[in-house]
Structures are given as C-alpha cells and as structure tokens.
C-alpha cells in the first residue's frame, strides 16, 4: 500500500472511531460530522491527487480584513446569546464548521510550500504530547459516574469549561478563540509542489 493509501486508512480509522465513541455518548450530530469527514477522506483517497491553486494571493486587503473581523464579532455576540445545546446554536456552529471543511477540501488558503520533513524524534515528542493529552482526558471521562454525568473529582476539559460557558462573556471568548484557531489552522495548509 502506498504512503497516501496508508494515511487515508489511518485518518479514516481515527475519524470513524472518534465519531462512533461520540455517538455512543449520545452526541450523534458530532458523530455524523466526523463520519462525514471520514467519508470525504475515503473518497479523496480513491481518486488521483489534485492540487488547487491557493485561494488568496498576497495579504488580505484591509477593508476585507475589517469586514471579516466585524462579521466574526457579530457572529460571536449572536451565537453566544443562543442557549447551549439548542438546534439554533447547533446550526450556528455547524455553518462555519462546514465552510472550513469545504475550504480544506478545496485547497490551501495561501501559496505556502511544504516545510522539509522533521526528524523522527521531533515528530515522536509532539505525537507523545497529543496522545498523552487524549489518554488523560479519556481516563477522566471513564472515571466519571457515566459518560453523560461529569465528575468534580475527575474533571474532563468539557466539565471544566461548563462554568466558563455558563456565562455570555465566557461563551463569547470561547467562540472567538475557536474561530481564531480555525483561521490559524486553515492558514497552516501548504502546497505540495511534487503533485
């Protein structure tokens, strides 16, 4: 199997497993999003690789940047006013999520070349940190009374965030950070010139 085929199988496996576990925790909407992403990755893996040109050339014009920031501010204020776990807020969060996935499907935002491959040790230490974080969170989750009931003694990140997200200001800050993280992540996409 080629390297591309292996990465498709691994990524699909992780997304399907995460979606299944989330579904078991009664979060079927989340599971469906992860399952949909897995299906998209699988479909992409079955086709020859293509490379779209970068969406943006040069710096974003100031007027457009301010308009984007203003739009994001209105989005954050309105979405934070909606009750958590309602269909309204679900639609409000799914919209930028789907937009980001479509942008990710299309190609990189900027014409950024792929950095040279890091050494195995460097990759291993970063992988260790993320795997340790996942296991620590999983341990806290499994030590709860049940998957749906949080525990003060073994708090998950979600449990700790509940007090922050109980207030409008906390929801605003979290949504703003989430949007900023999404933009930063999209900006990290690179163009592989070998394809």
């Amino acid at each position: 199997m080629s390297a591309r085929g292996r990465s498709t199988v691994v990524i699909c496996g992780v997304l399907v497993l995460a979606g299944f576990v989330d579904g078991l925790s009664d979060n079927w909407v989340h599971g469906a999003v992860l399952g949909g992403a897995a299906a998209a990755v699988w479909r992409d893996g079955a086709r020859p690789p293509t490379q779209q040109p970068a969406l943006m050339r040069g710096k974003l014009p100031a007027a457009r940047a301010w308009a984007l920031l203003g739009g994001a501010g209105v989005y954050v204020a309105v979405t934070a006013s909606l009750p958590r776990y309602s269909w309204w807020v679900t639609a409000a969060v799914v919209a930028p999520g789907v937009a980001a996935l479509l942008l990710a499907w299309r190609g990189p935002l900027r014409d950024r070349p792929v950095p040279p491959p890091p050494g195995r040790t460097g990759v291993a230490v970063w992988a260790a940190v993320f795997v340790a974080g996942g296991l620590w969170e999983l341990a806290a989750l499994l030590l709860q009374p049940s998957l749906e009931v949080g525990s003060y003694a073994h708090p998950t990140i979600s449990y700790l965030m509940d007090s922050v997200l109980a207030q409008w200001t906390g929801r605003c800050l979290t949504l703003a950070l989430w949007l900023a993280l999404g933009w930063l992540l999209l900006a990290q996409a690179t163009v592989d010139r070998r394809r």
């Binding site: 979060n27 909407v29 990755v41 969060v93 980001a100 792929v114 340790a132 003694a153 700790l160 949504l175």
Partner: protein, 66 residues
Amino acid sequence: MTSHTVTLVGYLVLVATGLGLELASRRPESRVPSIRVVLGRIMSSRAGRLAVMAGWAWLGLHFFAL
C-alpha cells in the same frame, strides 16, 4: 492532594510540555519541529487538511451544539 487537583495538574503539565516544545523548536539547530512545521506537513494533503479541520469543527460542536 485530591484527585481533582491531580487531574488539573496533569492538564497543566501537558500544556506546559507543549509550550516547552514550541520554545525548544525556536532554538537554532533544534531537533524539535515547531507546531507550524508539523501542521504544514500534515496539511499538505487534502486528507490531512480535512482531518485537522474536522477536529476543529468537532471542538465547536462539543462545547455548544446538540
């Protein structure tokens, strides 16, 4: 030390380790890549971009959505 504190300390240690690695990556001749390099490698393929952005979308859903 209560189990609550131990759990919190665990999260803090992980965050501090991540920050430490990022700082270490900025030293000349460092063998540790920055998170930007790692993400740049992962996100050079469509599958990688989709996986990273699906993780991000899931985070928003997890905290807010049904």
